[in-house]
Amino acid sequence: MNHRLLPLASRLRRELFATPLDGLISVGLVVGLGAGLQALLHWALTQADWAVVQANSTLLVVGRYPLEQQWRLWLLTALLCGAAGITWGLLRGRGWPRSDRLAAAVLLVLGVVLPASLGLTAPIQQRWWWITGLLLLGRWAAGCWGAALPLRWRRLLPLAWPVLYLLGLGLIGGGLGLMTVRPSQWGGLLLTLIEASFAILVCFPLGIALALGRRSALPLLRWCSTLYIEFIRGAPLITLLFLGQNILGFLLPGGLAPDRVWRAAWILTCFAAAYVAEAVRAGLAALPRGQWEAARSLGLNMAQTLLHVVLPQALRVALPATVGQFITLLQDTTLLSLIGLLDLLGVARAVMANPEFLGRNAEVYLVLAVLFWCCCAALGLGSRALEHRLNRHSLRSEP
């Protein structure tokens, strides 16, 4: 007992009370943090009124999406979770390592305990149970029998996700016999996710093209790319969004300008592309010139050199910065509320304008902040995990 406590005590001493000044700082911090934490808890447990979030949960999640069409969103969530489970299973195989067991436990808690504690209605709670079950079932099934599938099928897996994405957009928007739900009716978290995912998916190739253009040997390409990148990076996003809402209509022939929602999505995309281009350019710059020359002298042509030699290495270097840009992009979607779109923050502000929930700003902002924090932190964690994995691979492949 004593010798287990001792290291802790000595560690505490080393970390907190190494010098008198350190001790003073530590005591000050502990007192300050304690007071802050106590005030926060006091507010959260006694003064906060979470009815504003509960009563408007549907609005916050999907905005004005027609109620009778919401089964499409549930279907999409189920499809996405199923696909995620299967992908997970295929990647991991039969075993359940410790990290997977932990993830499964967290998912179970999220899927079962969270809906119950939020006070959602019974049918919605059950839907979440089913969806969580589907995810874990997909993991289990794909883990058990995934290896038995023909290789050609498993190769199709990366293709399944883009198809699923397009299918999802189709499900959300309607058409082909489904009732159309216009972009102006999308809102809340749904709109935020659509805008962010679209912009992330499209800005990535665009950014790579711009980065290659900026490092190109052809002067015209170089100038155009540089001009574009510097112009975009010099302007605040809000002025570009403002330009998109107020001037794009003048620039395109009448009636051809996309809907406001898509217009904002394209502006976000073009904006993020310039920053991604800079991240990728740094990756390209880090690549020794010899790589190009070696690949060319092996007889690979330009496109092959780019695809098989240059880009894989450059993108690996650029990965952390690029994901950092994606995180910023996800946060930047909040600016849509300033140009009158009902993204998550826009809906939240509309909710708070409802006199019934006046002065309940803190609760709503806190929920939004936690949501954004979780999404962004998850992206950051994912990026670090991927980086780790890629680095391990690169080390192994080297002789």
Partner: protein, 315 residues
């Protein structure tokens, strides 16, 4: 041996550039053509004369004297001065905070180290706009007024503003030698705390880049940890920090345009009002883009000079 034309090393680049140039030119021509046609259809051909017309609206707080009789360009100038004001103070505040927090990551005190990490991770993963709205609508707008105002030895925080220096209450209204409006205070707080987290990361990266031996050498010469950091390590870390600071400063300047969310009359907010009252969308957007580009360029130029200084000292 005859190389086919698509393998011709001299023709091919020219051809590619010609195609790209043509595409770019045609796109620009189409866009401009549409712009001119649509604008003339709406009777809004490009013109700058309206800049000299009286603005007709007031601005809540300005450093330059402004009233509704003065022309639009004066209004925009007053907005620009407001932007510069918040950016300058914000830069100083964020740099101070960022340096403190970034240095705290190397403290011998474990609690301080963890707190520094927590602060950075917390702030970087929450959108700035959300933070600004929080500061304005949740924190500053819920300050009490009159006698209930929060009174500190050197300041009074009330709903009618923050009063610094010698303060007194006359007829239920606070007076002080310096009054800061809640809008400005909220914007400044939000910007400093947000940019501070990013600058802390830059500082941390810079300090981490200084070889470990420098720390040990300084300690063995008898410097205290604080002295080591401020006299030995930070000056060397500047070489890595300054380029990183440049981009953080630029993004702080651009982020100041979110002032519109908390009611502070910066350049963007005045420009938006101007657009409404004149309908001159294209001109106003051109002014906005040009001005922010100029601000960015000035910051970049200054930071490049600073960078040169730092690099020369290093040799």
């Amino acid at each position: 041996m005859n190389t086919p034309w698509w393998r011709n090393r001299r023709l091919l680049p020219l051809l590619v550039q010609a195609v790209v140039g043509l595409l770019v030119l045609v796109t620009i021509a189409l866009l401009l053509g549409n712009l001119v046609r649509n604008l003339s259809a709406a009777g809004l051909l490009l013109s700058w004369r309206w800049l000299n017309l009286p603005a007709g609206f007031d601005i809540s707080e300005t450093l330059l004297p402004f009233n509704a009789e003065l022309p639009y360009w004066r209004a925009l100038l007053a907005g620009l001065v407001n932007t510069v004001r918040v950016v300058l103070i914000g830069l100083i505040g964020a740099t101070a905070l960022g340096t403190l927090v970034g240095s705290a990551a190397f403290s011998s005190n474990g609690l301080l180290r963890r707190l520094s990490r927590t602060y950075v991770e917390l702030i970087r993963n929450v959108p700035l706009l959300l933070q600004l709205l929080f500061w304005y609508f949740v924190v500053f707008l819920s300050l009490p007024n009159g006698t209930a105002a929060i009174q500190l030895p050197w300041a009074v925080l009330a709903k009618s503003g923050l009063y610094l220096g010698s303060t007194q209450l006359i007829d239920g209204v606070w007076h002080g030698s310096l009054r800061i409006t809640l809008e400005f205070a909220a914007l400044l707080t939000g910007l400093i705390i947000h940019s501070g987290a990013f600058i802390a990361e830059v500082v941390r990266g810079g300090v981490a880049a200084v070889p470990r031996g420098q720390w040990e050498a300084a300690r063995s010469l008898g410097f205290t940890p604080g002295q080591t950091l401020s006299r030995i390590v930070l000056p060397q870390a500047l070489r890595v920090i300054v380029p990183g600071l440049n981009s953080q400063y630029i993004s702080l300047a651009k982020n100041s345009s979110l002032a519109v969310a908390c009611g502070y009359s910066d350049l963007y907010s005045v420009a938006e009002t101007t657009l409404n009252q004149t309908g001159r969308a294209v001109e106003v957007v051109l002014i906005l883009l040009g001005t922010y580009l100029a601000i960015d360029l000035i910051i970049s130029l200054l930071m490049n000079r600073l960078n040169q200084l730092v690099q020369i000292q290093e040799r």
